[in-house]
């Protein structure tokens, strides 16, 4: 497998949009061709080599290409957008839209990710080892369909609107979350190990959400359906006892969304 190493070579002031950093773009290209790929900064385009030192060359196909970003790229947006195969490893934090609309392959971010990681993704694996911002795996503004497939793993915390409009795939969050997780969800699975602030599963009509920790402000349109223990969703297991709710009855007469909330962590629900 061919590996291309990108090392940031200067402090970035205005944010850069680098949707060319994908195995699909790098495949079949030599070092100098990769250096000449254009990225956006404001209304201007510059070669990739203005921002990164490039080492190595792309493989024969996207599957054969691994990109390693050696440093912090928190002011670089759209890394791995629309990628279909191959691998990207970011040894730092990324800016907005990492893995946006990705369809296959794998992205590993060792630091944090800004908002919109995995927006409307349809396949592949996006693993963020730090924290993430808003709109993880969600739909774009005004769109009804968020993440459709693949797996999104966040080891740390994430903020609001996680899995908005999600129709398939899995989101697994190791830490805590804030508001409107699974808003308008119609399918797929969201598992959160930590706490949530408010509006879990608001306006959902299908799919499943599991919250292991405490939910501060519960969604009023949820109706209790008893308890269940040791949940299993194919390879994902959630041990312990959970209170089960169906909803959101605010938005539909017969919704099929399911929220599980940890029994011991939510004595008031």
């Amino acid at each position: 497998m061919a590996e291309v190493k990108l090392t940031p070579n200067k402090e970035i002031d205005l944010k850069v949009e680098a949707d060319v950093i994908t195995p699909d773009e790098f495949a079949g290209k030599g070092k100098s061709e990769i250096e000449q790929l254009l990225v956006w900064q404001g209304p201007s385009q510059y070669p990739l080599s203005d921002f990164f030192d490039v080492e190595g060359e792309g493989g024969s196909s996207a599957e054969d290409t691994t990109i390693v970003i050696n440093g912090d790229v928190s002011r670089v947006k759209l890394i791995g957008a629309k990628m279909t195969a191959g691998k990207i490893i970011v040894k730092g934090s990324t800016g907005m839209h990492v893995g946006s609309q990705m369809a296959g392959g794998e992205i590993v971010v060792e630091g944090d990710a800004d908002s919109w990681p995995g927006m409307e993704m349809t396949g592949g694996v996006l693993h963020i080892k730090g924290n993430a911002g808003d709109h993880v795996g969600s739909a774009y503004r005004g769109s009804w369909h968020g993440m459709k497939g693949g797996r999104l793993i966040i080891d740390g915390n994430a903020r609001s609107q996680i899995g908005g409009g999600m129709t398939g795939g899995e989101i697994i969050i190791g830490g805590s979350i804030e508001n409107f997780c699974g808003i308008r969800q119609t399918g797929g699975l969201i598992v959160v190990k930590g706490n949530a602030i408010r509006a879990v599963g608001a306006e959902m009509s299908g799919g499943t959400i599991v919250i292991g920790g405490n939910i501060q402000k519960f969604t009023p349109g949820m109706q209790n359906e008893g308890e269940e223990s040791d949940l299993e969703f194919e390879d994902i297991k959630c041990s312990g006892t959970f209170k089960k709710f169906r909803g959101d009855f605010a938005i539909a007469k017969n919704p099929k969304g399911i929220v599980y909330a940890g029994k011991e962590t939510n004595p008031d629900l």
Partner: protein, 438 residues
């Protein structure tokens, strides 16, 4: 001479019945509210910004119009990513020039909605807008709901002109034919004047709306909602009953819904509530935002018909892209993702949070304004503003998105510009000249 039917350029109410009598050093105003009268006095005020100025070594120095305009054009033409903020205290015609200039420069164009009813625009994109003009509400509404707004302070004549007192075709007895519900964590004057005051906990609007819809759908909301909102489920049921008994309800949402936690989701849920009432419960409702700033609705209208999005338009790639949180003014400034700014008719330094305001003061900034204030203080080039509806003609959009054409009752006090539209056009021409030279 008394001039009648003058349009007021202060809030989204766009009152069109103001009478003014302008004498040498005084102006007499009839029909305007306290806020409106305040602005009308600007025509004769002492503190009006009358001279173009440039900041040199931290101090403002009076310069010629040409020099100020050259400097302003230089700042914009040399910028790698300018922010053009088209404030609401000016006409659509001036804002339109700003949009075109933003497209030309590949910059970002935003307007007051971004720090006002931006979340409302976003909620509308999520759920659609079941609305009507205020005229329909005058003639039909027998229930008025003020949600997160205190019109007695932000749009003082709303109650008398549109909301509560006007006598319409089916509401001949005015106030006596109407009930009023106010939803507000604060006991405002509006709340005191209402039939029912829902004093909810701050940041719980979404839960309350969600619970109302759950009740409409025949279920009892989860019991935790009482603790979250501070409102008993029985009171929510009473509110739903009042809504179902109404022949025609009018919901007026303010920033209490749009700017608290939940933001566009609060609005989206309110829109869903209106749709549900209209579709399945034999009553009719409308919803509208109380647009606090003069022509804040106008920018949303023209930006949408020209470029497809209501605010936060990023032209970096030559076409408009829109993503609030990424391409919106407060976020761009907080993230230091622009390097120069043009602010027309808005006090951004005074009305954005400290991080954003501070960065705005650090970057080169051109300001077009009429009176001293935080933003003029933070500017590098200060161009005197012309007061729309007093000194030049143009178009505002009223709170219910009705365009209102206005005519002046006096002239621009300057020989170098006739209106803000004129200033923007002169500036755009200079910017083009510099760009084409380079």
């Amino acid at each position: 001479m008394v001039v009648k039917n003058v349009v007021c350029p202060v809030c989204g109410g766009s009152c069109e019945d103001i009478q003014v009598e302008l004498k040498d050093n005084s102006i007499t105003v009839k029909n305007a509210c306290k806020m409106g009268n305040g602005k009308f006095q600007e025509v004769v005020s002492e503190h009006r910004i009358k001279d173009p100025m440039i900041k040199k070594d931290g101090k403002f120095v009076k310069v010629s119009w040409e020099e100020a305009l050259d400097k302003a054009a230089e700042i914009l033409a040399n910028s790698r990513r300018p922010l053009l903020f088209m404030g609401s205290e000016t006409s659509c015609e001036a804002q339109e020039v700003g949009l075109h200039m933003g497209e030309y420069l590949g910059g970002v164009v935003d307007s007051n909605a971004t720090i006002c009813h931006g979340p409302t625009c976003m909620g509308i994109q999520e759920a659609g807008l079941p609305t009507s003009t205020c005229g329909v509400a005058i003639n039909r509404s027998d229930l008025n709901i003020y949600w997160g707004t205190n019109p007695l302070a932000s749009m003082p004549r709303h109650m008398s002109k549109y909301g509560l007192f006007p006598r319409g075709y089916w509401t001949k007895r005015g106030r006596f034919d109407r009930k009023v519900i106010t939803v507000d964590p604060r006991k405002t004057d509006t709340a005191v004047a209402s039939d029912l005051h829902i004093q909810l906990q701050p940041n719980s609007d979404y839960e309350l709306l969600n619970a109302l819809l759950t009740i409409l759908n025949g279920k009892t909301p989860h019991h935790s909602v009482e603790q979250v909102t501070g409102i008993a489920i029985s009171v929510m049921e009473e509110m739903v009953d009042m809504m179902l008994e109404a022949k025609f309800g009018s919901i007026n949402v303010g920033l209490g819904a749009g700017s608290s936690f939940g933001k566009h989701r609060n609005i989206e849920m309110a829109l869903n509530l209106v749709k549900e009432l209209n579709n399945n419960h034999g009553t009719k409702f409308r919803i509208g935002a109380l647009r606090g700033h003069c022509n804040v609705a106008g920018f949303n209208q023209i930006a949408t018909y020209l470029y497809g999005y209501p605010f936060a338009l990023d032209f970096a790639r030559g076409y408009a892209r829109y993503n609030p949180g990424e391409t919106s003014c407060v976020d761009l400034l907080r993230e230091k993702d622009v390097d120069a700014a043009l602010v027309l008719g808005a006090d951004l330094v005074g009305h954005t949070p400290a991080d954003s305001a501070k960065y705005l003061c650090q970057i080169p900034m051109v300001c077009i304004d009429i009176a001293p204030g935080p933003t003029p203080s933070g500017a590098d080039v200060l161009l005197p503003g012309v007061i729309d509806a007093f000194e030049c003609d143009g178009t505002f959009y009223r709170l219910d998105n009705v365009p209102v054409y206005f005519e002046p009752f006096t002239d621009s006090p300057f020989d170098f510009t006739k209106s803000n539209e004129d200033t923007m056009k002169q500036l755009f021409a200079k910017v083009k000249e510099l760009k084409e030279k380079a």
